[in-house]
């Protein structure tokens, strides 16, 4: 008998713990999943405000870190239990998979209602990230599939105090690659770290390499490479790889850079152990939290050539998508329209140090953020190119650069290896 009662007790316990109470409510509750730890408090605040305004309850649920979040939505997509609103982390290909599986609502009609009033409130570049043009290579009906809630650019930042210490002008960051490389020796001499970044996470290397590819060969040639018309063994690409070798040789790169996660890089920069960092504009909020007294400025990556303009990655920072299978899609869209309205955007921007996606809210922002915002003129993003590179090629590309940084492969070797993977993937695609 004792055993049975113990078992029964366990079952009761399990069932209490196992089911997170799903209350039946007459008023719709919109649930939103996100991964933005730094913005959660502001989201909760806005949700409260929205409830008092409309009576619609909005539940922001935070899943962090971002790996866990990415896994969460993928699993939810598999099990068809995505929330009403979510955001997709990952490459364009992931976005495409979600759309093809019918998880994402096409928002074009809402965007274009009332003479495009919603659409026109955004920075155009913020919207293009979520847009599929006519005859895109992904085979998706043209349309807008996501709502940008903020914008970002990924640039370099430098520490002004350390600049003065090194005898450099804190208001004039290096403009050209050679100037930049020259600081390497000085930094080494005083025992500081040079450039830090999350290069243990593959995409951040990819980002800087692509910036230089745009600078050296222009957008058209980069896109032609992705389409398979130009090989990675082209001299221009070899030069892109060579830039990383030069950086390594000059001593400008922090030690252990290839295994560094971005959090570590941010800590090192915020604690004045590193002079440069390569990071996105979200860093303003991160650095603010780690070291409020940090004096730093944003700069474009120093250019390697003046043949083509320097390009950086930028556009929508985070976007929300509406679940096409949701029962409350209309309410969800209404909430997103409200969320991206001028006042709410200004509040989010002030509370979280992120650049607002609504162009009418860009009035009062901190100086560093303004510098990041200016970078928007140079911004591009793989998600707006209309074609994407195979993920295995990206992996080989970034692994290759990591190998160059630790000094075990030459740029030429890496170029050859990347091209091999590329040809293999092209052959596979032709077969299917």
């Amino acid at each position: 008998m004792l055993f049975k009662s113990v078992l029964l007790g366990c079952c009761v316990l399990f069932s209490v713990l196992g089911c997170s109470g799903q209350k039946l409510d007459s008023k719709p509750t919109i649930s939103i999943w996100h991964w933005m730890t730094d913005r959660d408090a502001a989201f909760q605040e806005l949700a409260k405000k929205y409830e008092t305004l409309t009576g619609v309850k909005v539940n922001f649920e935070l899943y962090a870190p971002s790996d866990a979040y990415a896994q969460k939505i993928r699993a939810a997509a598999q099990g068809i239990n995505l929330p009403d609103v979510f955001s997709i982390l990952g490459q364009k290909q992931d976005f495409v998979s979600f759309i093809k599986a019918g998880h994402v609502l096409d928002l074009t009609a809402y965007m274009e209602a009332d003479n495009n009033s919603w659409k026109n409130s955004f920075f155009p570049k913020a919207l293009t990230v979520n847009e599929f043009g006519p005859q895109n290579s992904y085979g998706i009906n043209p349309g807008i599939f996501g709502v940008p809630i903020d914008i970002m650019t990924i640039q370099m930042v430098y520490n002004k105090k350390l600049f003065t210490q090194l005898g450099l002008n804190p208001n004039r960051p290096p403009k050209t690659l050679s100037e930049f490389l020259d600081t390497g020796a000085k930094i080494q001499a005083v025992g500081l770290q040079g450039l830090v970044s999350g290069w243990g996470e593959i995409w951040m290397i990819d980002c800087l390499a692509n910036n230089y590819a745009f600078n050296l060969m222009g957008k058209d040639k980069v896109l032609a490479t992705i389409k398979g018309e130009v090989p990675y063994t082209d001299p221009d690409w070899v030069e892109v790889f060579t830039i990383f070798k030069q950086m390594k040789d000059s001593g400008i790169l922090a030690r252990g850079l290839v295994t560094m996660i971005n959090k570590t890089a941010e800590q090192l920069f915020a604690n004045e152990k590193a002079v440069f960092a390569f990071n996105g504009s979200w860093c303003a909020n991160v650095y603010q939290g780690m070291n409020p007294g940090l004096e730093y400025g944003a700069m474009l990556p120093p250019q390697a050539s003046d043949k083509f303009p320097m390009a950086i990655w930028g556009g929508a920072g985070s976007s929300f998508m509406v679940n096409a299978r949701s029962k409350h899609k209309e309410e969800a869209v209404k909430f997103l329209i409200w969320l991206t309205d001028q006042d709410q955007q200004a509040y989010l921007s002030a509370a979280t140090n992120n650049l607002p996606a609504n162009k009418n809210s860009l009035s009062k922002i901190p100086a560093v953020l303004a510098q990041f915002a200016r970078g928007m003129d140079y911004a591009t993003h793989p998600n707006v190119w209309g074609v994407s590179e195979f993920s295995l090629v990206i992996e080989a590309f970034d692994y290759g650069i990591q190998s160059i940084i630790i000094g075990e492969k030459t740029p030429e070797q890496v170029a050859k290896e990347v091209q091999q993977v590329k040809e293999r993937e092209l052959a596979k695609k032709r077969k299917n």
């Binding site: 790996d67 598999q78 998880h103 295994t259 293999r424």
Partner: protein
């Protein structure tokens, strides 16, 4: 109730005892086991509702093209080899030293089994902070300098040439306790009269070690070797704690590759399963060869 009914009731009652175990085990162990083999034949991104049947293409890709996978296998093989050699020799020496009337015997036993009790993640992190210099105390280098070898000081974890060996060393630190206990168990089963009579016959310590200890320890050694191979080839959490990632392939190991296939930027569930099957088959083969080898040796 007839006799037959009673018998049926009796049997049913017996099934009640195994039912919970069989049910849980079938659902959470056997079904995934079968699914691995099924999914390995498909291409599936984990999101779409359709899986594309590709036959043995995943395996073809693994065996013919996936350089990163074989590099990961090589790395794991390297760690395993070092563990087989150094960890097990150390474990055997310690067991041999403890297998006698010696003070503090129990104390040693307890201490040597502490590292295996800890989790791989924690062990990796602790050692990272001991070894590393930017985010760590740089203790190994300080020690080298203080005992007069400043020229041996090295960036153990940020130099691609030494990182894998460092991983292997920490792996051995964590693992030798297992080998120690099993070897000790084996040594204690050898009857002392054997040594006594050998001594009476005039054999010295080395001779009786060679003639008695070694042959009797072969089955135990094979067991330790199989466990070492299984443990080392599948290690990965230690690397996450110690190095933090794959270090441009220098510390990638098979399980990390499987995880990357499943959770990475291009999620490939089918391919991940195929990778797992390949690794599993290789492990079973190695274990089987070792087992046969021990049978022959006897």
């Amino acid at each position: 109730m007839t006799l037959k009914q009673m018998k049926i009731k009796d049997t049913l009652e017996n099934y009640v005892f195994v039912l919970p175990a069989v049910a849980i085990f079938s659902i959470f162990y056997i079904i995934p086991f079968i699914w691995v083999f099924q999914l390995g034949l498909f291409e599936w991104d984990g999101i779409s509702f359709t899986r594309i049947f590709v036959g043995l293409d995943n395996f073809k890709e693994i065996f013919l093209q996936d350089v990163n996978w074989w590099r990961a296998m090589w790395n794991a093989g390297y760690i395993t080899l070092i563990a087989l050699l150094f960890q097990n020799i150390l474990a055997f020496m310690l067991a041999w030293a403890c297998d006698r009337q010696i003070r503090l015997k129990n104390f040693y036993r307890v201490i040597f089994f502490i590292p295996p009790v800890l989790s791989e993640i924690v062990v990796g992190m602790i050692w990272r902070f001991i070894i590393n210099d930017i985010e760590g105390a740089n203790i190994i280098n300080r020690m080298l300098a203080s005992i007069g070898f400043p020229n041996l000081m090295h960036q153990w974890l940020s130099d691609p040439k030494t990182v894998l060996t460092t991983v292997a060393a920490v792996h051995c630190w964590k693992g030798f306790g297992w080998g120690f206990l099993i070897f000790l168990a084996g040594l204690q089963t050898i009857p002392h009269q054997l040594y006594e009579s050998a001594r009476v016959d005039g054999a010295n310590a080395w001779q009786s070690f060679k003639k008695i200890t070694v042959p009797l320890m072969i089955p135990v050694t094979v067991l330790v070797a199989i466990l070492t191979v299984l443990g080392s080839m599948q290690a990965f959490a230690l690397i996450l704690g110690l190095v933090g990632g794959e270090f441009a392939g220098h510390t990638s190991v098979p399980v990390l590759r499987i995880l990357a296939s499943m959770r990475g930027s291009s999620s490939r569930f089918g391919y991940a399963c195929a990778q797992g099957i390949s690794l599993g088959m290789i492990l079973v083969t190695i274990s089987f060869i070792q087992y046969r080898f021990s049978k022959k040796g006897q």
